[in-house]
Amino acid sequence: MAGKPARPVNAIDQTRRMLSLVTYLRERPGARVGDVARAFGITEDELVSDLDVLPMCGTSFRGGDLLDIDTDGERIWWHNPAALGEEAAEPLRLAADEATALLVAARAVSTLPGLRESDRQALLRATAKVETAAGEAAGASARLSVTFESEGGVFADVDRAISERRRLWIRYYSPARDEVTEREIDPIRLVSVGHTYVEAWCRRSEARRTFRLDRVAEIRILDEPAAPPEIELRDLSEGLVQPAAEDPEVVVEVGPGGRWVAEYYPHDSADELPEGGLRITLRTPDPASLRRLALRLGRDGRIVSPQDLADSARQAAQEALAAYDAPQVPGSRASGAHGVEDGLYDRREQGR
């Protein structure tokens, strides 16, 4: 399971939560700490810190009582539920931001092609009910929208393989080597961050790999059970491409037309150059895979280092040009130097 986004303690979030908490606890004397934390989507520590604040609170005007709430670490007891009148204990209306956050997310999830039909129906019913309950607060939610991309058929097969714990055979396209390879993978989970990916144990490389579903050329569910080794799942909230400190460094200089490189590649630094250019330093386990980038950039940029990467791009361009100079049959030529796969980068949505 991916880690939760780390959130600093926020007084507004905590107040919001405590207001719901008192309503919830009032109905459930002796509630278990673990159950309440789970119901509220918080850690037990967060819950305990709320329980430390609540005894300092009350409808204190004219000497009303403070809330006498305590816990022995296992159960939560409220000794004077009457301290909170009916009025203050009722569930609260949704705020505009709350309605927006929940509704936009629900609408986005309901468009995921891989969602089971029964789950989609449940989500659509729930969305309609929340819209009604939110009333006017739901209005602003139309100003935010999210579309997940994923390949329907491939998604359904991967999803099924995961729930049935079965191995998959795929033909997979690696842009870095421009080739399609066959492999068997034990799928672990599906992740949607813009594109949809399956994280899996790759039997060929005996390593954890992430595969983008729109690069799966063909897929089959095998009869063998999946047996991925026990591995700790990474927190992917910082992005799927997480270069390691020991990866080799690549330096690229781009003009204004190549600034998109800094938007697409996680990088260590991007320093402004005169005339709107950038000098970008990034790390990748396999610099040769960036030959495509060097070719794509054309006059908008160049590889500064490593030298062999710059050379291989130049060589590939010269080789390609030869076919235009001699317009006969462009075959029968030794193929250019190819990089090793990394399979993660795609530059096709550059925009302008």
Binding site: G58, F61, S163, H195
Partner: protein, 317 residues
């Protein structure tokens, strides 16, 4: 030691919710310990105004009533603050639980959990672990752009904004004044659609190209907000997905799978090369160059010239 803000906000909220008649500022100040310790009138007043705003931010409707003596009273009435009855079954609850977890932006993640917590307090069933119920699916909505939050608030409140925006091919950012309509996330990137005041036309902006701060303007919108705002179509045309012509290329056998996947026709030439007909839209030249010596453009001449031009630039080094 200073009293924690959450404690102060909680006490103010409970006072306002619990009272049957509006409470004056003075009464509230006498009732809440943090306000008693606030010191001067000025610092109390500032604190009180900020606290009211914060409570409104989390959804509390606070009514302001003036009594016969002209004194202002505050109250969070039952009718305006109660969640209307809502009954969700276990499946619906699990589905919402999954949805509430997709935000990776702190403010929206907090708001989504807050919504779910309010629904829990109202009796939302809680037995099912959303991940168990939904298999292995983990959708995430990424938000890395600093401009997101101020623009989200400006869209919500229909407030014009100003920011510096650098077009993909421009050397320098330019100031833009925009009436923001809607934000949309597509393929993991956020875009803003709105009315560009200086150009007097609808425009789509990519959030990652906004440089510096998003500044709020106090004026009202001058252009009508359309019923349907289309962001995706505009972005798709940038990405060359609205091809209206076709091109003829030669591709080395075994290479260029994505080109093959898009091809309307593939002919094997038998000499280690294939001939493909592919859609020709914006950006095709840059894409074809990525394949280096494995692609040769045959037609049209314009595309062939663009590709040769790009290759020459790289060949020179």
């Amino acid at each position: 030691m200073a009293i924690a803000k959450a404690e102060r906000l909680m006490n103010l909220a409970l006072c306002l919710l619990g009272t049957r008649r509006p409470l004056s500022k003075r009464e509230l100040r006498d009732s809440i310990e943090a306000y008693l310790e606030a010191g001067s009138d000025d610092s109390f007043n500032r604190m009180f105004e900020r606290d009211k705003d914060d409570l409104r931010e989390l959804g509390l409707v606070i009514e302001t009533v003036e009594n016969l003596d002209g004194e202002v009273g505050y109250r969070a009435g039952r009718d305006s603050n109660r969640l209307p009855p809502i009954t969700l079954d276990a499946e619906e609850a699990a589905a919402l639980g999954l949805a509430a977890k997709v935000w990776q932006q702190a403010r929206l993640a907090g708001a989504a959990s807050g919504a779910l917590q309010k629904l829990r307090a109202a009796g939302l069933p809680e037995d099912v672990d959303p991940y168990e119920a939904h298999g292995a699916l983990e959708p995430r909505i990424p938000v890395h752009e600093a401009a997101f939050e101020p623009l989200m608030l400006a869209c919500r409140d229909r407030r014009p904004v100003a920011f510096d925006y650098r077009k993909a091919t421009a050397a320098r950012p330019e100031p833009r004044q925009v009436e923001p309509w809607a934000l949309e996330c597509w393929r993991g990137h956020w875009y803003l659609a709105g009315w560009d005041r200086d150009r007097g036309a609808e425009r789509v902006f990519r959030l990652s190209r906004i440089t510096g701060k998003v500044r709020s303007r106090s004026a009202k919108f001058t252009a009508d907000v359309p019923d349907v705002v289309t962001v995706r179509e505009t972005v798709a045309s940038w990405a060359g997905e609205s091809a209206d012509r076709s091109a003829l290329i030669r591709l080395r056998a075994g290479a260029g799978y994505p080109l093959r996947a898009k091809a309307s026709q593939v002919r094997e030439l038998g000499d280690g090369w294939d001939e493909l007909e592919i859609p020709y839209g914006h950006g095709l030249d840059a894409w074809l160059v990525e394949f280096g010596p494995d692609v040769v453009v045959l037609e049209p001449a314009e595309l062939r010239a663009d590709v040769v031009d790009r290759l020459r630039a790289v060949a020179k080094g």
